[in-house]
Amino acid sequence: MNAMVKAEGVRKSFGAVQVLKGIDLEVQTGEVFCLIGPSGSGKSTFLRCINHLEKINAGRLYVDGELVGYRQKGDKLYELKDSEVAQQRREIGMVFQRFNLFPHMTALENVMEAPVQVKGTSKAQAKERARELLDRVGLADKAGNYPSQLSGGQQQRVAIARALAMDPKLMLFDEPTSALDPELVGEVLDVMRDLAEDGMTMIVVTHEMGFAREVGDSLVFMDDGVVVEAGRPREVLTNPQHDRTKSFLSKVL
């Protein structure tokens, strides 16, 4: 197995505040990688760095062996042009905490948008694929609805279908169930579980410890911008080694 994502000493600051203080980790192809930790620990920021929504200040970040956001020539780094960054992002799907569906488009149009606009897929083909994907997330009958006419869980499932439409090799989930009513969390997690079974490489920032334990292959506990503890989810969750991990888990489990 080769690493889908590799981080070496990744640092990120917003002004004077250092949010990531040197992150080293590897995500293997095909695995479900869970990131947990208290809010403000930098886990969402790290996720956003992976598709260059945030620029890192130091260290190196690779996706599928390719440097994210930069090109290295000798010992010099060159910033990538916007179009090149866009090219890299096509292969990375992202699902947001607040869904961020396009409100002026129907569910079907949301899913069709990127393949048509970015890949140049024909409309008919994109529509067919979009219907397949909506069917896969269990929303075939909601294709014509606007996001405002869907529940939070349904919106998030459309958002997952939208990300899948670009056939990504990596999916990033930024607290996908945190903005949902408790009874709607299950339907989104089911879709994610499905994806994991199909072998999708997934990085999931989550507070759903049950999901992490059942579906996750690796788990990392982050706090204050550093990786505190990493390992197999079952081991870390049931037998945390670090005091900080213990106190966090005692509050959320």
Partner: protein, 318 residues
């Protein structure tokens, strides 16, 4: 844990329990005598009386020649005047919108030079009266007798700065400053998450702007732009000062020769009202178009409202 807590609460509060047969009272609709609003009747009568007095004053005034109003509404000089009002308003608005969008993008750009230039433009054109700006354009020949654009164009300024050009530039450039601020507000009103989601899908800046941000900004931009256009229809009467022969100038010319000054102003009012009313209807449908997706249910069109009201009426009669 939460489950336990909920159960305890429910037990401790048995009065909150719902009876199985749906309550002791039969499920009849309440028939109560409504509150009488005497105040509303009194104020309604008072207002109606005042309106009647006003109408009467105008209708019976001996000095108003109402037939002159009717005669001149479709007059050979009034109609083209109204046409020119519409023409100059539409053209000035088009100029204003195009330039306004450019200025808004310039102001929001990361380049400090362009954003500063846009700021200064808006500062000047919003900070001085349109009337003064119109006169500035009209009298430009006093300081630049010849318009010399290098190898491209060279002509006497008086020939270039016709009343039409002065009116168009005066109104259009002024409007651009306001449109720039409206567009900027619209673009900034779109949630940042939308841009992020679009970028995360691999869409370029330009596509994100065109496909995602602008369609959503339009919902914020369209209503004030409609207001601006209605304002423009009326502000265009100021180009009277630069001798452009629009509606007000056309009617006033007749007024001053035929001594029907007030009557001709009434004629002007009628045409202004017609134009603004027609556009208001158009604006309603435009706003409805851009509300897609932001409202669960689009508001009914006036025609749909009428139809909906007809149904209970017809069932009443039976």
């Amino acid at each position: 844990m939460t489950d336990k807590f909920d159960k305890e609460q429910a037990d401790a509060n048995p009065s909150a329990a719902v009876s199985k047969d749906g309550g002791a009272l039969p499920p009849e609709a309440i028939k109560a005598i409504p509150v009488r609003h005497y105040g509303r009747w009194v104020s309604g009568v008072v207002v109606l009386a005042l309106v009647a007095l006003l109408v009467n004053a105008f209708a019976t005034a001996e000095k108003i020649q109402w037939n002159a109003v009717g005669e001149y509404v479709f007059d050979d000089t009034v109609l083209p005047g109204a046409g020119r009002t519409l023409l100059i308003s539409v053209l000035a608005m088009i100029l204003g919108v195009i330039l306004g969008v450019i200025l808004a993008v310039m102001r929001l750009s990361k380049n400090p030079v362009t954003s500063w230039v846009a700021w200064v433009y808006i500062w000047f054109f919003r900070g001085t009266p349109v009337y003064v700006q119109l006169l500035l354009w009209f009298n430009l020949a006093l300081i630049f007798p010849v318009l010399n654009l290098g190898p491209i164009y060279k002509d006497e300024m008086v020939d270039v700065m016709t009343p039409f050009m002065a009116a168009l530039l005066g109104l259009g450039l002024n409007e651009a400053a306001y449109m720039a601020e409206i567009c900027r507000a619209g673009l900034m009103a779109v949630d940042e998450g939308q841009t992020e989601a679009s970028h995360a899908l691999g869409m370029s800046h330009a596509k994100t702007l065109r496909r995602i941000v602008i369609p959503q900004a339009m919902r914020v931009i369209v209503p004030p732009t409609g207001n601006e256009f209605i304002n423009m229809l009326k502000t265009s009467s100021l180009v009277y000062a630069v001798t452009y022969n629009e509606l007000l100038r056309a009617t006033s010319t007749i007024g001053s020769t035929s001594y029907a000054v007030m009557e001709m102003l009434f004629v002007a009012c009628i045409w202004y009202l017609v134009m603004t009313s027609v556009f208001s209807v158009f604006q309603y449908y435009l706003e409805r178009r851009y509300a897609r997706g932001s409202l669960r249910q689009l508001p009914p069109t006036p025609w749909q409202k009428i139809k909906a009201n007809m149904i209970p009426l017809s069932s009443w009669r039976r």
